[in-house]
Each structure stands twice: as C-alpha cells, then as structure tokens.
Symmetry: C2
Subunit: 185 residues, 2 copies
DNA sequence: GTCTATACACTGATAGAC
DNA sequence: GTCTATCAGTGTATAGAC
C-alpha cells in the first residue's frame, strides 16, 4: 500500500537528487508523483522545507542501511570499502550520470540558508561516518578510523561530482583504488 | 579601473559560490553589484547561462593559479598539498562556512541540465587535476600521480561540503592529514 | 482527505527612450 | 551604454468547495 504521502516523498527524493533544492519546484513534484497539490500541504504544512527535510532524512537512512549491509559482506575493510565505492561508480553511470549523492546538492545549497536542512544533512553525514568508522576499527585505532572515514565520505561525495561532471565512472574507480591502498596499508 | 562588466562577473562569482545557480537571481546580481540591468544583457546577451559560464571560468582560473602557486612554495609534494588543504579549511571557516568550492554547487546543479556549464566545470576540474598531477610526478609514477590527484580534488570538494554542513573546519583538517599519509608513503 | 482556483511575489528576458 | 518599464511564465503558498 502506497499512500499519497509516500508517493510525494519518493518523487521528491528523486528530483532533489537530480535537480537540487532550488531547481525543483513543488508543481513538478505533485505533477510527476500523480498526487494532488491539496494533499501536499495537507501532509506537509511546513511547505517545501518540511517536505525536503523528510525526503532527505529518508534518502539518508536508506544509504546508511546500504553502507552497513555492503560493509558486512566482506571481512576485510579495505576490500569491502573498495567494492562499495565501485558499486557507486556503476550506479552513477547507470543513471546516465544524473543521480548519485542523494543529499550532496541539498547540503551545499542550503547550508547557509536553511538551518533545518543543514542540521539534517549534518546528522546524516555523521551517521555515515560512524558506520565506516566502526568497520575500520577492526583493523585501525579509533582516531585513525575516524579520520579515514571522513576522507572516505568526502572522497565519495567529491567523486560523484567528478563522475557526473565528466560523464565517466573513471574518477570513482580511481578513488576506490587509492582508498584501498590507504586503508590496507 | 573596474568596468560594469567586471563588477557583474565578480558579484556573480560570489553569489554562485554561496547560493548556487538556481538560488541566485539576476535581480540580486544587478542590485548588489550596483550595475544596471540594462548593462547585464548588453554585456551578456546569452543571459544567465552565459554570465555563469564566464563567472565559473574566472573563478576556476583563479583557483588554478592558487594551486600552482601554493604547490610551488614547498618541494615535498606531501607537505605542500597538506598545507594547501589546511589553507582551504581556514578560508572556509573565515567565510562563516558560507564559501568554499566556487564551482562545486554549480557543477552538481547543472551537470544534467546545461551542457555548456557542465563542459566548463569539467574542463576546470581537468586543469586542477593536471596541476596536482605534475607536482606528484616528482615522487610518483605518472599513473599513480593521476589517480592520487583525482582523489585529492574529490576529497577537497567533499571536504568543503562536510565543513560547510557541520560548521567546522575539522573535516578538511582530518582529510589533509590522511592525504599527507597517502602521498608521503 | 482531495481537488480546483487563485493570490502574489519573483524569475529570466525584452523593448524602447535617452 | 545605460536605464526604466514591462512581459510572460513560474515559484510558493492559501482559500474554499466538495
């Protein structure tokens, strides 16, 4: 069972990822989600900002689950993380270089203009960082695991930008290899 | 001597960096730059897109010069790059976490919607990558230098996002240290 | 709960006087 | 070259019928 509310959030996640916050209009969301505009403000009285907060939260949580799941498949952190990044590269390519980094654009666009959205993005990045850090602590000291995790997340976010901009999965593939060296050494 | 044209470009660079492409209106650019709207379309008949292309190009070139200059100050690539990243961290903090990554947001926002802007951002990233790569080739093989450079640029772009989102210069500082280990090993 | 109609500000862009 | 006035379109948000 898919409610109107869920359809709206789902479509918002997709459009925000491709077009960003200011590039995505509410009209487009209601039109493409097939839900009526009346429902949008019924479910999200706070308007666009509230809707974006929920969408970003959902997208961030889904990615967190994927990180945890993928990293649990392989014992060696270096290999597990390399494969995870390689998967992202393939997914970015599959989307025609339109998707990848579901919260990246919003984090940048709204960091200075919406305290709410900034805080949500900040929390999500912290959650991701913790997930990588826990895995890395099986072979590294906690402090080093923490800084490695920060580098990994930054490199993935930046790598997605380079892939989308160059229309090539090559940047993330190179990054995956370099991170593999760093984590394994 | 500062012409209207230069004032407009200057202000556009600043606003695009803080607010992104869709978040920045032409009225705001005209108003804050002190130039008349009539001049905008006189100098940039292609409208917003043409103006953004010139602004991005100028910002990208300035960064390229800064990369080359900073990397030339120290012989050891590992130290030079670490100091460069540390400087970025300080500058992001100084701007109140509003600036940093003059082309990042535009690259993400327009990669799928404007072929012109995508191409310009792509070229700029390639120029930056080449600058790092040349420095790294003094101690690494060409292929390795290339992939390290890609990681460095991605890590900086992503690191700026993390700093702005968390309102802390800590992420870029951690990243600087990790990159130092990687390049120096 | 859902839908239509609409208010009202603002967008990018243009025309024409000066 | 510069400026004002203004266009058509779209943005978010709201009101009120059903």
């Amino acid at each position: 069972m898919t409610t109107s509310r869920e359809q709206i959030i789902e479509k918002t996640c997709e459009l925000l990822e491709i077009q960003g916050y200011h590039g995505t209009g509410l009209n487009q969301i209601v039109k493409e989600s097939g839900s009526p505009k009346g429902s949008l403000y019924y479910y999200f009285p706070g308007g666009k900002e509230e809707l974006a907060v929920e969408a970003i939260q959902q997208a961030g949580t889904m990615v967190l689950k994927r990180i945890r799941h993928n990293l649990s498949l392989v014992d060696d952190p270096a290999i597990a993380i390399r494969e995870f990044i390689m998967n992202i590269a393939i997914n970015v390519e599959r989307s025609g270089y339109a998707k990848g980094g579901p919260i990246t654009t919003i984090a940048l666009e709204t960091a200075s203009s919406s305290e709410q959205l900034r805080a949500v993005c900040d929390q999500i990045y912290q959650d991701w960082q913790k997930a990588f850090s826990e895995k890395l602590q099986t072979v590294h000291l906690p402090e080093r695991a923490a800084s490695m995790s920060t580098l990994i997340i930054a490199a993935i976010e930046g790598g997605v930008i380079l892939c989308r901009t160059s229309k090539s999965r090559n940047p993330l593939e190179r990054i995956a290899e370099e991170i593999y060296f760093l984590v394994g050494s």
